[in-house]
């Protein structure tokens, strides 16, 4: 049974801040320390509940939520990265469930996850212009075309042809 005090003490080298709010443990860290922090959290927090990103206007905040099924406790890990060419180490080898979540964040926000096994667009298509959930992606409300660039399956076929 880990307590908040113990956790923050053990992980203090990898944290830039921590607080307990409404029963949830909120940890903040930075891109260089996040991998070590997540590795430290892996044994206790076995369920990858959520991973997403928030465009605050100035920079991007990547947010991840983990759950411990034994302890019934949630932990939030968040960190900020620059808006363009943001890089983060992947967490998909720690929790396989993050494999698609990271693809989604890459697709909608353009965050690169280094070491991800298959970082392709997931909801939009290959060749989609831009990353739609960024605040500076403007939707044309008068656009009434459905003309879109040719969609190919080449990426998937390449993936499947790999041994």
């Amino acid at each position: 049974m880990t307590t908040f005090a113990q956790l923050t003490h053990d992980q203090r080298a990898h944290l830039t801040g921590s607080e307990e709010a409404g029963g949830v443990w909120c940890l903040t860290t930075d891109p260089r320390k996040v991998r070590a922090l997540l590795e430290g959290l892996r044994p206790a927090f076995d369920y990858p509940e959520d991973l997403t990103c928030i465009d605050t206007g100035g920079e991007l905040r990547v947010f991840c939520r983990l759950w411990s099924t034994a302890q019934r406790q949630a932990v939030h890990v968040s960190l900020t990265i620059p808006r363009s060419r943001g890089h983060l180490p992947t967490a998909s080898d720690l929790w396989r469930g993050y494999e698609w979540q990271e693809r989604e964040v890459f697709d909608l926000f353009g965050v690169q996850f280094d070491g991800h096994p298959d970082l392709r667009r997931i909801l939009t298509w290959e060749g989609f212009p831009g990353h739609p959930l960024l605040k500076d992606f403007v939707v044309d409300n008068d656009d009434s075309s459905w003309e879109i660039p040719e969609q190919t399956d080449q990426e998937i076929i390449d993936l499947l042809s790999r041994e």
């Binding site: 939009t124 739609p132 939707v139 409300n141 656009d143 009434s144 459905w146 879109i148 969609q151």
Partner: protein, 171 residues
């Protein structure tokens, strides 16, 4: 005795064991088309659930001869039930092209008719399926009730009467 299209079924009942009925071929063909509309099984979004409900126990559209076919090659009607996205639009277009003539399209729900709740601020929806395929009947509602869908199907069946089935078949 002249028999018009509407009376064919009744006339057949009156002549048990055979006999000759003279009728316009168009009438016979249109009557057959009207009583066996086969839509392609093709659910896009929420409206598809209402389409399923129309096919199930309570609304029972089988009694009107409406049977879903899983392949567009055997279908003569497409019910576009749901939001068409830009990613889906080319697929929908291809499906439409695979259907044999004569073919009809029902745009079911606000999304298919004109974008619906996703008209504004969505970067990935097509604002109405009529940008992709020609539409014969629009149904409003989000989702439309099964009664509305049945009404549309019956109205479509009625509209066959005005067509020359033979000419359509010749193309």
């Amino acid at each position: 005795m002249g028999v018009t299209g509407d009376q064919i079924a009744a006339a057949c009942d009156k002549v048990p064991g055979g006999g000759y009925i003279l009728a316009r071929l168009d009438d016979v063909l249109n009557w057959a088309r009207e009583s066996s509309q086969w839509p392609v099984t093709f659910g896009l979004a929420c409206c598809a659930i209402e389409m399923m409900a129309t096919g199930a126990a309570h609304y029972d559209q089988d009694r009107l001869g409406i049977i879903y076919r899983a392949t567009p090659r055997q279908a003569d009607l497409m019910i576009v039930s749901g939001t068409v996205t830009k990613k889906m639009a080319p697929v929908l277009r291809r499906l439409y092209e695979q259907m044999p003539e004569p073919k009809y399209v029902i745009a079911m729900g606000n999304c298919a008719s004109g974008g619906g709740p996703y008209y504004y601020d969505s970067y990935n929806t097509v604002r109405g399926v009529d940008l992709v395929v020609p539409v014969d009947i629009y149904i409003s509602g989000c989702p439309p009730r099964p009664e509305q869908l049945l009404d549309a199907l019956i109205a479509l069946g009625q509209s066959y009467k005005k067509e020359h089935a033979l000419k359509l078949a010749r193309g």
